[in-house]
């Protein structure tokens, strides 16, 4: 530091000068969300003078469609802030949905034995990946890529390589009727699946911003050595964030099984990339140490709203993918341009 341009250092220190774009980055996901909504209203098809985009039914569709990606993205935010990555979440979602269906339908288990077991299984799967990465010092990218394959393999085993349909009712071969609630809407409008996402998101915002644990996650991602030197249990924190992604993947898997009333070993393919996209659009730094849970949530909603607008306008699936890609690049470019902004929020 001793050769910081002589005058820049004190000046910068007295009043940290912010690039105007810093604010844009900090709120980019909220801003992007607003823009997408404005665009949605502007380009929405109308029927009998009603803006289809804003119809309660359509909005319910949007927030339902993002519930699973959103749940995954909540966990992914922890991992990425801790300077990691988890590519296995989509596969673990698939595994957990299959496990749920198989235990209900093939094994005749009840609600209160199945759900805890699936959640524990998912969490363990994540924790084991974290432990392997930490203890064997293998990059998380590799470990979770391997985990992705392993989870797919396990789903094929658990399902006997078959699609498992969930029927509701009493007796063997049926799932408990209460489980069907995940596919329903509160008051006929608000999807239960989305409620699960909202509850998890609220908890995650609190944990990340208001607990010691949250601070530790930021510190580990910001500078692992400095964190270790400060007495922070770095290894434990790193393992725990993968346990969190495992946990949310299990929840998302259960929601998936409940929403669609089946378990399919190939479901959830590519979900990890949507989750990562939501996190990045939300302004979290892929190098770790800086990021925002609220940003992630806005990012997830934005991706869902965008897909919805394009669908309403009968834009082809190909164009939808291109548009999503473009948005991710713009979000990343904004961050790179302004530098490693961030901090906690």
């Amino acid at each position: 530091m001793s050769t910081t341009p002589a005058t820049a250092a004190p000046a910068a220190a007295q009043r940290p000068r912010r690039h105007p774009l810093t604010y844009l980055v900090r709120f980019q996901s909220l801003l992007g969300l607003i823009l997408v909504i404005i665009a949605g209203v502007a380009f929405s098809p109308r029927r009998h003078g009603n803006i289809l985009f804003l119809q309660p039914d359509n909005i319910a569709n949007i927030i339902r469609s993002i519930s699973e990606t959103g749940i995954l993205a909540v966990g992914m935010t922890f991992v990425i802030i801790a300077a990691g990555i988890d590519l296995s979440v989509g596969a673990v979602l698939g595994l957990c949905s299959v496990l749920t269906a198989a235990l209900f339908v093939n094994e005749g288990w009840g609600l209160w034995s199945t759900l805890p077991l699936v959640i524990v299984a998912g969490t363990l799967f994540g924790a084991v990946q974290g432990a392997i990465s930490v203890k064997a010092r293998i990059q998380a990218f590799i470990v979770t890529l391997a985990g992705l394959q392993a989870a797919r393999g396990l789903s094929l085993i658990a399902s006997n390589n078959a699609f498992i349909n969930i029927n509701y009712g009493e007796g063997p071969g049926n799932a408990p009727p209460a489980f069907a609630v995940l596919g329903e809407r509160i008051g006929g409008v608000f999807p239960v699946a989305t409620l699960v996402f909202v509850v998890l998101a609220v908890i995650a915002i609190f944990v990340l911003n208001n607990t010691r644990y949250g601070r530790y996650v930021f510190a580990v991602g910001g500078n692992e050595k400095a964190a270790r030197l400060s007495g922070i249990p770095v290894e434990w924190i790193k393992i725990s964030v993968y346990a969190i992604t495992g946990f949310v993947s299990a929840i998302a898997g259960i929601v998936h099984a409940g929403q669609f009333a089946f378990g399919s070993p190939n479901d959830g393919t590519g979900y990890e990339l949507n989750a990562i996209a939501a996190v990045v659009i939300g302004g979290t730094d892929l190098f770790g140490g800086a990021g925002s849970m609220i940003g992630t949530i806005a990012g997830a909603v934005m991706l869902g709203a965008l897909a919805n607008i394009l669908q309403l306008n009968d834009v082809s699936a190909a164009m939808q993918l291109l548009a999503t890609g473009a948005i991710i690049v713009v979000a990343a470019a904004l961050q790179t341009y302004v530098g490693r902004g961030g901090g906690t929020r």
Binding site: M1, S2, T3, T4, P5, A6, T7, A8, A9, P10, A11, A12, A13, Q14, P16, N209, N210, T211, R212, Y213, G214, R215, Y216, F218, A219, G222, N223, K225, A226, A227, R228, L229, S230, G231, I232, G289, A290, R340, G342, G343, T344
Partner: protein, 506 residues
């Protein structure tokens, strides 16, 4: 000095409200090494920015070979034969030396890169810079000193007649620095004019032909290299040298840490990591004990083995903390025993640069501000405000990013962070590396006021005048052993002979 290569007259520069350069005159002769001394904020980097074309001055004139010139960009200055070697070297680690030297000016034959020609020419450039390295080596495999030499060769490849070096020895070991000095002098002897920016006073007599001292954007003195250090310090900071060191301990209390014939067995022995083999020393309350010795004798290793950072293993022998046998060697154990450690690498391991001052300051004591695991912003604010006050971190801006602070203030944040856990013993490794004289004096004063409150300090430093001025006792190490102990204020020659004499015998 008739051969005047460069002449800057009455250079003015303002950045907003800051008057960075207040009519600075500076000149350089061919074949001269002209050292430019100044503290952070003195304006030396801005002045060199003007010279290298990165900063456009508001007023004044630049003459090269007596001809008035104006540089609108670094490219123009470069074309005129002025090359700057920044502190963060602009070399690509993944490429070999030859590719780095010709980066952007690759030699080709047709479409193809002419590797052989580049390699040959690179070898030639290296030889002319007095460097004996194979041009085919990847830069990543070189040590910092060797990279520095490659950077010089690169500057020479652009036919530079004026070389600006920005604290080239900041990251070098003593041996590497020696080699660098030889190369620099050799270049000067061949007519290159060299501006050498530094704040290491001890380098001045070894390399300079002339010294210019800047303070607050103005030249406050031009002297010869044989000027006594005290005079240079006075010019630099505007107050006498003796004021640098506070008075020694008034009261020495009970022993905090006692090692007797202690040795450390690392789980994974590494080459070049000198494990403590036979260490006997005691640090008392209120006392500052220094660790002296050459590079690589195990000073840093002793500190990290005590603290457990970067060293896993087991201690043998007598280790007592406050009179009771203690197990050390892991970070939690050290923290439990009341040992805190300030690293010599604040940017790499001391701080999270992208986080705020507040976040860094409470990092090692988060428990104190998170009752029941929940962050109490009120507690956090109060703790941080007190720490910023206590350690005089400027500005007092808890929400400023640490990366925007000056080196000295970053170091204060590291101190604040470690001392917030109220340790009994502070382990310091090169606490003033890379901070300027004014900030050094402040750190010394701070340490003394802490020890007055009963803290013990064990400090390793490669700067003998610092240890002598600061410490109550100095322990000399060699090859992992403590070999001698000096009382307060020993003569520098005695300590130097002791640290170096043993090595020759070995």
């Amino acid at each position: 000095m008739s051969d005047r290569l460069l002449e800057l007259r009455n250079i003015q520069k303002r950045f907003g409200g800051v008057h960075a350069l207040r009519g600075v005159d500076f000149d350089l002769a061919a074949g001269e090494v002209h050292v430019l001394l100044g503290e952070n904020g003195a304006g030396k980097s801005t002045l060199m920015g003007v010279l290298s074309g990165a900063v456009v001055p508001d007023g004044g004139s630049i003459a090269l070979d007596g001809q008035g010139v104006q540089f609108a960009s670094p490219r123009e200055a470069h074309a005129a034969g002025i090359a700057m070697i920044p502190q963060e070297l602009d070399l690509v680690p993944g490429l070999d030396i030859a590719s780095n030297l010709f980066l952007g000016n690759e030699l080709t034959s047709g479409f193809m890169l002419s590797h052989r020609r580049m390699r040959r020419n690179a070898q030639d450039l290296l030889r002319r810079a007095g460097v004996s390295l194979d041009a085919g080596l990847p830069v990543a495999s070189l040590r910092m000193g060797e990279r520095q030499l490659v950077a010089i060769a690169k500057a020479l490849s652009a036919k530079a007649r004026i070389l600006i070096m920005d604290e080239p020895t900041a990251a070098l070991s003593a041996v590497e620095a020696d080699h660098l000095f030889t190369v620099v002098k050799d270049l000067a002897a061949r007519g290159v004019g060299i501006v050498y920016i530094s704040h290491r006073l001890e380098e001045v007599p070894r390399i300079a032909h002339r010294v210019t001292v800047m303070r607050d954007g103005a030249v406050v003195g031009i002297t010869t290299p044989d000027a006594p250090q005290a005079e240079l310090v006075q010019l630099l900071v505007g107050r006498p040298f003796s004021d640098l060191f506070p008075p020694r301990a008034a009261r020495i209390g009970a022993p905090i840490l006692r090692l007797a014939n202690a040795a450390f067995d690392p789980d994974l022995p590494r080459a070049g990591w000198q494990a403590p083999r036979d260490v006997t020393l005691t640090v008392h309350e209120g006392e500052i004990v220094g660790l002296a010795g050459r590079m690589g004798v195990g000073r840093t290793e002793l500190l990290s083995a005590l603290h457990g950072f970067g060293a896993k293993g087991r201690w043998r022998g007598t280790i007592e903390v406050r009179g009771r046998p203690a197990t050390l060697g892991t970070i939690p154990a050290a923290r439990h025993a009341g040992l805190a450690y300030v690293t010599d690498d604040r940017r790499g391991t001391g701080l999270i640069l992208t986080h705020t001052v507040a976040q860094n300051a409470v990092m090692s004591t988060l428990r104190k501000v998170t009752p029941f695991g929940l962050v109490s912003r009120a507690l956090e604010r109060r703790h941080v405000a007190r720490a910023l006050e206590d350690y005089d971190v400027r500005p007092r801006a808890p929400d400023a990013k640490v990366v925007n602070l000056s080196g000295g203030n970053q170091q204060k944040v590291v101190f604040a962070k470690e001392l917030m856990s109220a340790p009994g013993l502070l382990l310091l490794d090169e606490p003033t590396r890379g901070v300027d004289v004014g900030a050094k004096a402040e750190i010394y004063r701070r340490l003394r006021s802490l020890t007055a409150g009963g803290l013990g300090v064990l400090v390793a430093s490669s700067e003998l005048p610092e240890l002598i001025g600061l410490c109550d006792r100095i322990v000399v190490m060699d090859e992992g052993r403590t070999i001698h102990e000096f009382g307060p204020a020993p003569r520098e020659e005695d300590v130097r002979r002791m640290s170096e004499g043993e090595s020759r015998a070995a």
